[in-house]
């Protein structure tokens, strides 16, 4: 079944659960740990039926995720730890059922309604707008997404990859099976690892790696200017000028 995510049809049921401190749920390379979290059920009206599509998190839940890969030069990427208080968890395939359990109780939704309303209002300008497809219940590919406006983070977990967009960590995409990593951040620059090998790396130091080869832009420019210098020197000699052999164009490039 393919969901048509019409954000206006998303609502709270007034049911929820209070998780005890220290409860844990591990899935692939992510882990959710409860400090003392209250989760409120979110459903979507689908052909006159209500399908649970996620939760609103009121109190503290901690998300741990390993966005790391092994490479020949050592581990790349990072393990992240995010507090996901006042956030929305989108869980189409009900992956979290084993963690949350079926014993839902009536809860006060006044606070969680505010969060859902904010989510709805912001969804008009984010990736979930007019989303036709997010998950197929008949397919095994489970998707779990966590949106935290408070900490400015979007976390998406599928069966083979993990995506994190956050203010602190930039963009991190990990494909676990292939030892592949895409990292775009102010700290690491742009880095692409495939099969544990650094294919592209731009932004750290004066060099860049493209397709596994090291390039040094200042060196490239120097070679070009040297060629020009030689050309000018040859031209000068040819016409009897006083150009020196190593006539320098004196071009200074800073990288």
């Amino acid at each position: 079944m393919i969901f048509n995510l019409d954000i206006d049809k998303v609502k709270l049921t007034g049911k929820g659960i209070k998780l005890k401190a220290g409860e844990e749920w591990t899935h692939e390379n992510m882990k959710l740990v409860s400090i003392a979290a209250e989760l409120h059920e979110v459903v979507i009206e689908n052909e006159e039926k209500e399908e649970r599509i996620g939760w609103i998190v009121l109190d503290d839940l901690v998300l741990y995720a390993d966005l790391t890969v092994h490479s020949s030069g050592g581990m790349l990427g990072q393990s992240i730890k995010e507090n996901i208080k006042y956030s929305a968890i989108i869980d189409f395939n009900n992956s979290l059922d084993e963690f949350i359990g079926p014993q839902l109780k009536d809860v006060d939704i006044s606070e969680s309604q505010k969060i859902l309303d904010e989510f709805k209002s912001r969804s008009h300008s984010n990736m979930f707008r007019n989303s036709k497809y997010l998950s197929d219940k008949d397919h095994d590919d489970k998707i779990l997404a966590i949106v935290s406006y408070q900490s400015g983070m979007l976390f998406v977990q599928t069966s083979d990859s993990t995506i994190v967009l956050s203010k602190d960590n930039g963009v991190l995409i990990v494909e676990r099976e292939n030892d592949s990593l895409v990292e775009i951040s102010t700290k690491a620059g742009v880095r692409i690892i495939k099969d544990g090998e650094e294919k592209i790396q731009i932004g750290k130091g004066p060099q860049m790696i493209i397709n596994g080869h090291i390039f040094d832009p200042s060196m490239i420019v120097r070679n070009i200017t040297k060629s020009f210098s030689k050309g000018f020197a040859h031209f000068g000699r040819h016409f009897g000028s006083d150009f020196r052999d190593d006539f320098d164009l004196d071009l200074d490039f800073d990288f």
């Binding site: 692939e28 390379n29 030069g73 393990s79 730890k81 004066p206």
Partner: protein, 331 residues
């Protein structure tokens, strides 16, 4: 007879003079080729491949060295190839000259038998041929000596050695370094921890696999792993619990490997020095052998000349006796 003896004595003194000349010539040749020329200086002056390309950028220090090392390694391999070819060429050239020397000797001997006029030139020709042979052998030895020096130089300089450039510490940094570096170093100062890093270099692993491989379990394993993790040489996944070697961990492992490699290379340098001494002794022995051979050749020359002279004297005596008997008969 007295006149004949005087002639023989004159001849012998001439031979002695010639021998002295040859000795002097050999001595000067040996001095010229073996002692005056410093092979290191010779090669330094004549061969400068300019491998240290100046990139004129402090930030690129490490890579400049790396490029230099790569070029150096490549050139060294080329030089080694050329050197081997030259060695072979010199050897075959030497062999050809030896056979040529022998052929000349044989041809002259044959000619001498045919024509008695050659007999007078016999000594001179033999001396010339031997002199050529000696010169060739000396040049051959000289070339081999140069090659050996080249080899020794490359062993001593330890080509392929990389230098890691580290900027100078400020006083504050130096204090931090003294305070914190020992803890970092102690994290790799254990065979089991080094083994753990080496195992993790191949890829992430769970505790069970690592524990089995290094033969350490439970608390001891945890102690070693905590030491590596507190130094940030190893990272443990928060979800699956696998251990991964970090970039710093790879560097720490490489550091230990480099230090060990250089230490053992230094040990080898002592061996090289010993080998050098052995080489020099062998060379000395070769020189002595050469001199012995030269003296032996000269002694043989003298013996042969004496035999010739005695033969001539006998012939002259026989002729004289024949003349005397003819005269008697006439009387």
């Amino acid at each position: 007879m007295a006149e004949e003896r005087k002639r023989v004595e004159d001849e012998l003194s001439k031979i002695n003079e010639e021998m002295a000349e040859i000795k002097e010539m050999l001595k000067s040749k040996r001095t010229e080729s073996f002692e005056d020329t410093d092979p290191d200086e010779y090669f330094e002056n004549d061969f400068d491949p300019e491998i240290h390309i100046s990139l004129d950028d402090k930030n690129l220090g490490f890579d400049e060295e790396e490029i230099g090392t790569t070029i150096s390694e490549y050139l060294s391999s080329v030089i080694e190839g050329v050197q081997e070819n030259l060695k072979r060429s010199v050897d075959s050239m030497g062999q050809r000259f030896h056979s040529m020397e022998r052929n000349i000797g044989r041809d002259f001997a044959r000619e001498m038998k045919r024509d008695p006029e050659f007999r007078e030139k016999k000594r001179e020709v033999r001396r010339k041929a031997k002199e050529i042979g000696r010169k060739i052998r000396a040049s051959q030895k000289d070339m081999h000596r140069q090659f050996r020096n080249m080899e020794r130089r490359s062993r001593k300089t330890g080509r392929g050695r990389q230098v890691i450039h580290i900027h100078e510490f400020s006083e504050e940094e130096l204090d931090d370094f003294f305070n914190n570096a020992p803890a970092l170093m102690s994290a790799i100062a254990d065979p089991r921890r080094l083994k753990l890093l080496k195992l993790l270099e191949n890829g992430p692993a769970y505790q069970g696999e690592l524990s089995e491989q290094i033969g350490v379990k439970g608390g001891t394993f945890k102690h070693h792993m905590e030491s590596l993790m507190s130094s940030k040489f190893v990272h443990q996944e928060t979800t699956r619990g696998r251990y991964l070697i970090t970039q710093l961990g790879v560097e720490a492992l490489k550091l230990a490997e480099i230090v060990y490699k250089r230490f053992t290379d230094q040990e080898k340098e002592f061996d090289v020095k010993f080998e050098d001494d052995m080489d020099e002794l062998e060379e000395e022995a070769e020189n002595l052998e050469e001199e012995e051979q030269v003296l032996g050749d000269e002694a043989e020359n003298i013996r042969e000349e004496l035999e010739d002279l005695e033969e001539e004297a006998t012939l002259d005596e026989a002729e004289l006796e024949a003349e005397i008997s003819d005269a008697d008969e006439e009387e």
